[in-house]
Amino acid sequence: MKNLEVLILFFLALSIDTVYGQSQETKGLEIAQQADEADQGFESVEANLKMKLTNTQGQVSERYMSNKILEVKDDGDKSMIVFESPKDVSGTKTLTYTHKQGPDDQWLYLPALRRVKRISSDNKSGPFMGSEFSYEDLSSSEVEKYTYKYVEETTMSGAKIAVVEQYPVDPKSGYSKRIAYYNLSVDHRMEKIEYYDRKGAKLKTLLYEDYKQYLDKHWRAGLLVMTNQQNGKKTELIFSDFAFKTGLSDASFTQNSLRR
């Protein structure tokens, strides 16, 4: 009898945990989907970027680039990055077709040879241009690329914040998890992400600052600050000249357009 009670209690506890666990995961996914939906319909966006790298001695180096993104219905976005500075890499471009499932398609254009090279999109964890951003930090953040677990609701500077853990689906990701801070008061926009390395130790923190709303709908941060807690280095991404719905089409994201 006693044993049965224990058994019932055990199963009860297990089922509660499962239900509770599922709801945690569903809730986390729902928040990510709501954030994604809140930004849908931007069609295309162009912006200029300045990347400011600061090492532990306080030495600063800068890179300039421009970025174009085309929203693709039912699949990941298409994007093109054009490097402008440092001058020795000026004119180098990358073209990426992000996919919700499976590896992204990526091409690299080398202006000196006028050569377009298909490259592996496997290298996700490596540093982008010597910065604290990795390739995966800068690629289009599709909902399907993570599984989710809702943690709690909290507040940051008076705003209601949902804290959600995100687990990368791709085993080649450099992270074991990310902790994302969604602003529930303002269209689920992202306020902060904490990155944990493969060993589970905290690696980096990304802060989204200087938000502005475009076309009464789309929130874009003017400044992203990535701080690496393990090596003490910092990279700032400063955006300018955001332009939405600029008439970009599939034809603007081809190998021919890389060569222009």
Binding site: L53, N55, S61, S85, P86, K87, D88, V89, S90, P103, D105, L113, R114, R115, V116, K117, R118, I119, S120, D122, N123, S125, G126, P127, F128, M129, G130, G174, D197, A251, S252, T254, Q255, N256, R260
Partner: protein
């Protein structure tokens, strides 16, 4: 008449450029850049032939511009190149690398003027790549090319990209002068090599290409008809001179790459037909990248390629049955340090060939580059035998404006 065509082409380009400048306002995006390099090539051994020097100091300048309309429909690009070499008078040269107008409409574009076009996927040889003549005195690996006057139409469809080229004029390659290195025993001047029979270098060439990608596959099929860019080598004259001329050729090419995770599979194959010679050639291999090794940011790419050419010892590049094995190291650091090193090993003969190419940024706008080429146990059966004393180390410092 034919000279007139080129003059008209250049004239049209310049005139449309001038018009652009005239009404230049916020509708145009303009960009000008300048690259100046100082270069020292040091040969480890004395030359095989009289008068050859050992150390060559040289300088080069590369001004370029681009003007693009904000609506993205009109584009003018220009890139000029000039080098001054201490001893090799043929390496002292000037070239219009690019000078063209491009009109972009919908999914199509048409370009008129001097352009540079690259086709292909492999690293150790570029078989399929045929539109431009190589600038042989500039670099040893064939990656520097002379500007090619052309009319080029390209359209992007759901069935792939289609390119059509009309190449108005065939440019001949330059060879090192008497005091230069990496040359044949007899000094060859550009004009010495004739173009096939009654046809001359004004003989127009045509090329078409279809390229597409399906999931992990990128594929290209091409055909070229006209004056071959590579001289046809028939053997040696009684006096030891090479029998070389530019033939009229048909060349069909295939390039294919499969991108499967960190592993890239690459294939290039050509069939070339001329009245006096027909052959097939192939380059096939893979590249495997270990990315972000030990979370240090370092990417190490291992490249292995097999090179075949049915011309055997008549292969101008001597790459007739060889294997290339190499490593690409990219540190992904603030200074963008990277280098590529490897060796080409002949499978039927004794010849080895090693190379190193590396570079690193200095400050904001300088770059230091190092290049080395070493020949070992060069077989007397191969054309490369004449280069057996020509191991060199080249140091370049480049300033970007």
């Amino acid at each position: 008449m034919k000279h007139l065509l080129i003059i008209v082409l250049v004239g049209l380009t310049c005139r449309s450029l001038a018009q652009t400048e005239a009404k230049a306002d916020s509708k145009w995006e303009k960009d000008f850049s300048l690259e100046i390099q100082l270069d020292n090539r040091f040969f480890l051994n004395d030359g095989l032939y009289e008068r050859q020097e050992r150390n060559f100091l040289s300088g080069a300048i590369t001004p370029s511009f681009s003007v693009e309309s904000k609506d993205g429909k009109h584009l003018w690009q220009g890139k000029f190149f000039g080098r001054l070499d201490q001893y090799d008078v043929n390496r002292t040269h000037f070239d219009i690398r690019e000078l063209y107008y491009q009109h972009i409409f919908g999914n199509s574009e048409i370009s008129i003027g001097f352009k540079k076009v690259f086709w292909g996927v492999t690293e150790s040889s570029h078989l399929v790549d045929i539109i431009n003549q190589v600038d042989q005195v500039e670099t040893f690996d064939g990656e520097s090319k002379l500007g090619q006057p052309m009319i080029h139409f390209s359209t992007y469809t759901n069935w792939g990209t289609f390119d059509v080229f009309y190449l108005a004029y065939a440019r001949r390659r330059q060879f090192p002068a008497a005091r230069g290195r990496l040359r044949f025993p007899m000094v060859i001047e550009r004009e010495d090599l004739p173009v096939d029979a009654e046809l001359e270098q004004w003989h127009p060439s045509f090329a078409v290409r279809w390229s597409h990608f399906f999931g992990p596959f990128d594929v290209g099929l091409s055909h070229f008809y006209g004056v071959g860019r590579e001289p046809l080598f028939l053997g040696f004259e009684q006096n030891g001179a090479l029998q070389l001329f530019y033939p009229i050729i048909h060349q069909s090419g295939l390039d294919l790459q499969a991108t499967t995770g960190p592993l890239l599979w690459k294939l290039e194959a050509i069939y070339r037909y001329a009245d006096l010679q027909e052959f097939t050639a192939l380059a096939a291999g893979f590249e495997y990248t270990f990315s972000n090794v030990w979370s240090s940011g370092l990417d190490i790419g291992l490249v292995a390629e097999y090179l075949f050419d049915s011309r055997d010892e008549l292969t101008l590049t001597s790459l007739d049955n060889d294997v290339f094995v190499g490593g690409r190291f990219a540190f992904n650091d603030v200074k963008s340090t990277e280098f590529l090193t490897g060796g080409i090993f002949d499978l039927t003969r004794s010849t080895y060939f090693y190379s190193f190419e590396g570079g690193r940024r200095i400050g904001k706008s300088w770059k230091l580059e190092l290049e080395a080429r070493v020949f070992r146990q060069v077989s007397a059966e191969e054309l490369a035998f004449v280069f057996r004393q020509d191991d060199f180390i080249e140091t370049r410092i480049i300033k970007y404006f």
